[in-house]
Symmetry: C2
């Protein structure tokens, strides 16, 4: 076959493969209930930026000789999130990360540098990446029991810190746990630290999903800098939605500067964990924030919580007990068959499963799911009957 | 003003801002000489994938319940790079990273887990992110002197390892240093390890740029698994080009499995550093690799090296001594004024600067730059004359 024909054949095979992949995306996105990723977004206005090798290398607030960056846009995004996190005294610094792992790693890295002898406390319901990060950082840590709703067990936390009072406590507060959307109570955590006379402590908030819920509800649980946190990680691809997983991390400037100084000593002032960083995620977040605005997010969150309640009622109608935590769009119910889990891309843990009513989830979506769930459980029951 | 009008005004302000940003990108990309990011790419065929919240969460080679992924494409990319890195016995595993920092961090993390008492050796010319990573990992380390061409000083390496023979050596081999494009000689490094009878050792190759050069030249320096490395990090946004910084990391399966097991013990099998990972970078790399193919890369690399030689000749014509290392497209010359550095986005270090003749750099591009450089240095000379 002449070379041109081989090339054409090859190109056509490649196109065919891409078409099938796109079909799979279309199909999978219509049955996307188990993970907290909003599928409702349209960034097509920004696609032209994908023709450039944009790189937000290093600290967004410092000048760089790499001109192809969106640092100014990134700074606007960071300032917006600082406001959402009640940084009323403009005491924080931050950057747009590649996602939750980087945001949490940054928080724990800062904490470890401030308190090298610190002991990290995190609940059983903490995201699995935290254990990986602590191992990477060689941080000493203790897992604390959770309550049945997913919140940290404050009695266990109190008793455990009490027998390690010689080590400054570094506490991860889950602002919306992964499986149950539970919010750890910062007032209780602060009470424990005060009662045990531990002014040297660090609180990092993992607010992956709920960091973009609580600022827009009527009665939010405390979660921001006004509630005593030292750093916070919030995902961008969850409630806002993005084709690239991303997030923001915010930390107190004074702490960051201590780390930055150390890095300067070893020859650089790069204050971000990743050196090269993509300049598109800040652009997507900026455009979403500016188009949706506060009023829009209030509507979106209210819709999500309404659909979550609708799902709980629908479960009740078929005799299944489902529930959610306050201000959470994560609905927990008994684990179905592996077939249904795969079909609806559900996240599961032991005997429970959840759906998360993100903005793309409408009531009709729930109806189809509940009907599949009912069929699934009756099948399982009849199989048990046969056995 | 009615709400609709406010919205329109706001939208128009936003559009105006985006237009100006895009103009800046266009303008900056025409004077982009100092960083190793290829500006020649066109992924517009893939833009439709940006309408989905794709997430390559966790290990690309394992199934996941998150259906919106491009894991199969990612595995093809990894296998392709494994072949380029002479993994003839299919002994490696890998994934697409967010860039060099993550790739190097993964390599050093594996090394530390294998040899907790290991000592890391890295040359003065090593990328600045390595010191940050070693600090994060709490790894013991010693900086080794460099030769004037940027290669590690083998005598200093030998003598330093010799006095620490009780600690397994973990060595970073620079396959193309950041400032001078120098390649550390793996044969020399292996000779030192043999002479000092140190069978327990680990070599991580930082091949950010040259990992995509050496497989396509006639007389490559050794750099792959056949030359004794244990892991390697190669950037995707450098020679291949990508709007999202990315890279690949490859490591020996047997070592990865040791870490994976530990993570399984703590409740998860996620073998990647970042949990959520974007599914677009693998798609971009896959499409470039399949369209350009081996023959295409041979042509591109040959072009880059030819333009580098052209630049050296052009410098010579204006009486400036410039040079490059073997198989490197990094051209080193005396540092110009800060104004020129900023104008051409040059990377500098002490009294040297470099340009990197990436695929988008043509001879005419060099001509304009050399003429600016000549004007810049004569200005500096005349200022000195006045002073």
């Amino acid at each position: 076959m002449p070379k041109d024909d081989t090339d054409k054949l090859f190109q056509s095979t490649m196109n065919h493969k891409l078409d099938r992949l796109l079909d799979r995306m279309k199909c999978n996105s219509t049955r996307f209930l188990g993970y907290p990723c909003n599928q409702n977004f349209d960034y097509s206005q920004l696609f032209e930026f994908l023709n450039y090798s944009i790189n937000n290398v290093g600290d967004p607030f410092l000048p760089t000789s790499f001109g192809l960056n969106t640092h100014d846009i990134e700074c606007e995004v960071i300032n917006e999130f600082a406001t959402l996190c009640q940084d009323t005294r403009k005491l924080t610094w931050g950057y747009v990360t590649n996602g939750g792992t980087e945001g949490n790693m940054y928080g724990f890295y800062l904490a470890r540098e401030l308190y090298p002898q610190g002991m990290v406390y995190y609940s059983e319901d903490t995201h699995y990446s935290v254990a990986k990060i602590l191992r990477l950082l060689k941080s000493r840590s203790i897992m604390i029991k959770s309550q049945s709703n997913g919140e940290i067990d404050y009695d266990d936390l109190y008793e455990t810190i009490k027998i390690h009072r010689d080590s400054p406590p570094i506490i991860i507060a889950n602002i919306g746990t992964t499986m149950k959307g539970a919010v750890d109570d910062l007032q209780q955590i602060n009470r424990i630290l005060t009662e045990l006379a531990l002014p040297d402590h660090y609180i990092h908030a993992d607010a992956a999903l709920s960091g973009m819920i609580l600022p827009f509800v009527d009665e939010p649980q405390p979660f921001g800098f006004d509630a005593g946190i030292d750093s916070i990680s919030i995902s961008g691809h969850k409630m806002i939605g993005s084709p690239i997983p991303c997030g923001i991390v915010l930390a107190k400037k004074a702490n960051v500067e201590r780390i930055a100084r150390s890095i300067e000593y070893i020859g650089t002032l790069d204050t971000t964990l990743s050196g090269s960083r993509n300049g598109l995620s800040p652009l997507f977040l900026w455009s979403a924030i500016n188009q949706i605005k506060r009023a829009g997010f209030i509507k979106i969150i209210s819709h999500c919580l309404k659909v979550a309640d609708y799902a709980i009622s629908a479960f009740k109608k078929i005799g299944v007990s489902a529930w959610r935590n306050k201000n959470s769009n994560t609905v927990i119910f008994p684990r179905p068959s592996d077939e249904l889990i795969s079909q609806w891309q559900l996240a599961v843990h032991n005997d429970i499963a959840h759906i998360i009513t993100m903005p793309h989830v409408e009531e009709a979506f729930i109806d189809t799911f509940i009907s599949d769930y009912q069929r699934d459980t009756s099948n399982a029951d009849s199989k048990k009957g046969v056995a």
